[in-house]
Amino acid sequence: MPTTDIHKQSPPGCAAHRQLFEDTVTRLMDRLYGAALRLARDPDDAEDIVAEALGQAWGKLDQLRDPGQLEAWLFRILNNCFIDACRRRRSRQDRETELEEAEFEDEAFSLFEQLHQPFLLWWGTPESEFIGKLLREDIQRALDGLPDAFRVVIVLVEIEGYTYEECARLLDVPLGTVRSRLSRARSLLQKALWQQGREAGLVPAGRHRPVAKHGGAS
């Protein structure tokens, strides 16, 4: 993508800049706030993170060389604000509460394996029906229930579309750590959704199958 200096057409702080910035922020506001809320979990903290991020972004808009990157740039600043807030809180509390590697069972959990019934292939797909019955609130609750280290990678990769490498850079952890956290995060998330689904009566209460391998094309 060719680089276009945002300030070549107009000087920093001018009305055109403000218009571009405001239009972009208005368009992205629900996504910025949503991402901040999923990251921080607390509505007040999420508001603070968005306000801080947009204040910082506006203050250093002259550092953005390519207006086409404004959206990605805003999300990057937002994520950094969240990470900084975590680190500040961690140092205040003087204990490892945020973004740490927690101890969890390693057994992988697959929602699909629990729900899928191969013999129903032509008549129904209980796994798709299950997803269709999940409320937005179910998914938010399952996400919010994940430990920080795992929730953050899911939000970055599945909600914000970060690559593993971008994620590793932002969190300052090795690529392998991103991969392992992501894998455990998905397992925990799917297990939480399964448990919530059972509580809500979306699947028969007694149903729980060990993860099985299937035969198919090879």
């Binding site: 506001m29 706030y33 204040g55 798709s128």
Partner: protein, 78 residues
């Protein structure tokens, strides 16, 4: 890993890396070929895609009016 053919077990191992678009082209093509003829794996991939879409939706939340006003005030300060 780059290869022409991939079996079900290998596909499941690579499933999320595939959905995350982190696989190199050769393996992606092998998975695409496998998915074109294996109904079980196709169902699995579609399920994970649907779930992923729902998770993505959870990242959009109506921002409070108070926050919009706060941001506008921030811009006005400069």
């Amino acid at each position: 890993m780059s290869r022409e053919h991939i079996n079900c077990e290998e596909l499941i191992e690579q499933l999320f890396v595939y959905l995350d678009r982190e696989l190199e082209g050769g393996t992606c093509t092998a998975i695409d070929h496998h998915l074109a003829r294996c109904r079980e794996c196709f169902s699995r991939v579609e399920f994970e895609r649907q779930l992923r879409d729902r998770i993505g939706d959870a990242g959009i939340e109506k921002a409070p009016e108070r926050l919009r006003m706060r941001v506008k005030a921030l811009l006005d300060e400069y």
